[in-house]
Amino acid sequence: MANETTGKEYKFSDIIADPAIKERFTRVRKYFFLRESTYDMSNRCNLRCEGCYYYAGDKQFAEENLNTADWKQLMEAEKDRGITFVVLAGAEAGYVPDLCKTCFDIIPLGCIATNGLIPLSKEIDYRIHISVWGNDTTSLEIRKAKNMLVRQMENYQDDPRAIWVYTFTPVNIDEAREVTETLAANNHQITFNMFSVPVGYNGHLRHTPETLARTRAVMSELLAEFPDTVIFSPYNIVAHTHERGLHDLFSCSYPRMNPSTDIGLGRSFRQYRTDLKWDRAAACCVPDTDCDDCRHYAAGSAVVTARMYRHATNPLHFSAWLDYVDTYLAVWVKGYEKSSNLCNELIEPPVHN
């Protein structure tokens, strides 16, 4: 098919004839079986962070179901309908370790999103995403918690489940270096997220073209300087700091923005609230986020990954896509090791023909 920049037509077989591309495609393809859904585990949180998407909208008012038998039944039903990967989130999963363990016992691949202040038992062998929103001074201001990074590192020292997720906002861009250096010195890993405004949010954390560009520059520097610590790729940087959001660039495939139930996320994805109910109209990994502003790392992990076909037009775009998928797997699947990036250029995403 024709490359929009060079005009040269590549067959897919030509693209994967490159040994490095073929090796990477073969590696990531083993994980094509992953089918995710997400679950709000608790409506409680020990923090109140400005701009928290969980406390936007009405899902925060859903009653908690703390009945282990009900969760066991749900997980078994999820497994039966083909779900192979669970994302346990909102508000703070650390409050309900027994429910997390119930999920793990039935669907052993997954991830827990946490603020990291309530340590989770190693019996729950999921990947653990620990949120960080700047240095401890900024965390105190935005999250009202003291010494967050130090406490998070104490709770997850030498724990291969843990990866820190640094959410870039307009006010913490320059603090990412300090946080990355600290995590690197303690042999931890970090990946990057972008603050994406909840529906109706009018605060000062919304990114602008200027802050997107500054974030892009800082991400690039940190990826180059800390390749063993920063789990990211140049194409991740492009996708998440582009002036156009993820939906505009890649056509979001979550049910909330995708009416098709033919195949893929539009067919299988559900987002359960704490009362174990779900609503197709609200189903995505970050419900109540303003879709036009969505640059969320979790959304990109599914939305960009789902666009393999669009990227299989030339070796450069396909390499960039493979880097993105390689990053996604390293961030989300415990035990998957990130490889070196194949494409070190900041290339524009392909146009949807």
């Binding site: 098919m1 897919f12 393809r29 094509f32 083909g82 033919d262 195949i263 067919r267 299989a312």
Partner: protein
């Protein structure tokens, strides 16, 4: 490259069997009306890969919005036949 519909169906079945590493089925015994999503358990990434292999082999353009609808071997064969006819 097969051009006859029956040959196309057999070749598509062969591609699917190879790509998904299906066992206990041959291109000749693969049911052309079997729903690849509901009955074979194929997901979007597998279907995208199959669409890329078919695109290569038959030299046709498959729109990104089209391939998710190609959910049986017969539907794929009809799609290919129509595309080949357009190219003539």
């Amino acid at each position: 490259m097969p051009t006859d519909t029956t040959q196309i169906i057999t070749r598509i079945a062969e591609i699917i069997i190879n790509e998904l590493k299906l066992e206990d089925v041959t291109p000749e015994t693969f049911e052309a009306d079997l729903d690849l999503v509901d009955e074979v358990g194929i997901d979007s990434m597998d279907l995208a890969t199959i669409a890329l292999v078919i695109r290569d082999e038959f030299g046709i353009r498959i729109d990104e919005d089209d391939y998710p609808k190609l959910t049986t071997v017969r539907i794929i064969a009809e799609y290919i036949s129509n595309k080949l006819a357009e190219n003539e």
